[in-house]
Amino acid sequence: MTIMDSNRFDLIVVGAGLAGMTAAAAATERGLRVALVSSGFGMFVFGAGCIENRPLSKADRPELLEEAVGFFSEFTRQAGCPFRGAIASEVHLPTILGSFQTVSLAPFYLWSGAVSEAVRATVVGIDGLTSFDADFVTERLTNQAARLGLSTTYVARTISLPHEAGVTQSTLQFANRFDRDIEFRRTLLEALKPAARDADLIILPGLLGLRTGLEEISQLEQDLGCRLCELPTLPPSIPGLRLFHALDRRLRRIGVECFSGFPVTDLEFDGRRCVGVVTDTPARPRHLKAGSVILASGRFSGRLLGQSLSGFDGQLRPTDGDGRTIADNLHAVGALLSAQGGHGGNQRAILTGYRAGMLAAGQEDRYAAR
């Protein structure tokens, strides 16, 4: 067996959001040995990872969007959490505020909520779950659908699930029970059955487990005889976390070494090259070395690049006050690019993540050829 230095990689990706995970997956697929260094679940805990179609600037290389989204779709499919939709599509997905969010791709368990034809939807609330109200969502969605000229009808239904007296109910608790307790799954199925009668679609707050895969949810839909749409709720958003865990498992399976829990405090440079990162581990900082580094650490991580950050060049490389790249092999992706203003969104996260993964793998020439 070949023995590798456990601290040395071809690529280090800092941050495990959509951008960082896409970058790690893309580079691994192209043969790099990748480390993913992260802490926390980023925006996954606040949403579901939906992708909105937003205008991109020329510097974003919109011509690569299709390829990036294609890669991402395959990545999520293999992770057991497939996305549905396409860049060109535009659908309305309901939210817990009873508003519609316009998206082009979404995880399968949310995509079902897209209303394109006349469907009868039952919005299901749970007795005692104060962070979701089926009547409220139904009333709002009905108004909104009328405003948008959609012919979907919504009715509300509240179900009761057994729970310990005096214990506040939360979607996290339901999700934990869903994962651990087969009996709870049966109870939930029985409770949902009346709501599924006369409905094409059940809309419910996201609670169907943190580790549930496509088959399990499809099975549930089959047993109910109607589609299911799980809305992301106030944090923690179960559908978002489920996506995180699915992608995380996939990355580990394909050989990405995941270091989670210890923030990156510094980047290490040797001349014009970024040679590694330093993590804040107990007792001694840990030094990880790499051939290149991708920063996908979110909007507030610009400090890692120092005071002189002025922007990014055409290859996603941060530039200093004089407009020179800080390092030739250092790329930035996702929300960090938006630190200077504007909101990038998930579409940009995937596009830039994919591009940076490719750049790190030395495949930027392919772009130039186009």
Binding site: M1, N7, S39, R180, P282
Partner: protein, 400 residues
Amino acid sequence: MRQDDVSLDNCLKCSDCNTVCPMLAAHPGYPGPKHLGPELERLRREGLPCDSEWLEYCLGCHRCDLACPNQVNVSELIAAAKARHRKPFIRQVRDFWFARPGLLGKILSVAPAVTNAVLAAGAARFGMSRIMRITSERSFPPYAKPDLPSPQASLRASERLLFFPGCAIRYNQPELAKTVVALLQRNGFAPEISTAGCCGVPALANGDGQEARRRARSNVEAMDQAVENGATIVTACPSCGHMLKSGLAELLEDDPELEKRAKRIARHTYDLAELLMAQSDAGKLNTKFRKTDLQLAYHAPCHQLSQGIGRPWYHLLRQIPGVQIEDLDAGCCGMSGTFGFKEEKYPVSMAVGQRLFERIHEAAPKMVASECATCRMQIEHGAKVQAIHPAEVLLQAYER
């Protein structure tokens, strides 16, 4: 905890910590780390009387700290509050002993045969369960004479390697100390056995801050001189390692001089696998392994994860030809040292471990490797599979 600690201010209420808390997943009434940590700390600092019963349920696994994207010292806030919490008398007496495995070990290992016979006797178990609130569901680990090896030490101070055995190895599994020493010798080290006592994790876990600080102080005094002269400390128990690396200095922060020395000890402390992995990275690991056909599953203890050293055992064992190893990655085992022995906590301790037990059954390994003594106890008890320290696998793989 330092009075000017403002890490609770970093909390954005994202609930990442709650989603990884093993106790919250198993116990629906548990308020979770976000609430017991930063949320209530804010009210504790206001001076309000706050509910503290739930603090006893914190497993001290530090998974909340790892999940926090904003570096809130969640479990430290909980541990500090736990140390101020008052318990009913019986639990106080029981936890007094649970907090002092070193003292307990000294007494019980005087005549191990007698101790083990008594600990296994039905009447004694019944009494402990009824009076001391110690569960009769589990068997106690047998005690042994603490006759640790006394290997020839290195002559040069800067090359000294002190093995910190910890209570579980010293009093319950002294043969493991021989394994560790032999393994280190095979790799060119000349280890000695440190005389330092209990690391203090059990004291902290049982809410005995004073005892934890006493342990910390005495251990710093025991090891400081050697470390100052360049010695390295090595641990084979992840909880001891965790304590020496991050706990000592925290416990001693009221005394800047001791704190400084504790930090120096931390900088020179290595987990056994971490040390061997560093050898491996430098191409200096003895890899004269014979082919060993063994299907293993590896369970990473919480206090191994909290050290931030990656998965060294997993990578080391994979280097043995013929060994198949699967990283179970199934969360906390639920034992948490003495926690799982407590009568009132036993059911929830087993509920926490449920996911791990299921994963072990799926993986169906010949045995489970895990470096934490109480994790192994829980795995053998809950999954009915033999559990061993990975050091044993490695040592046995060496050609004789």
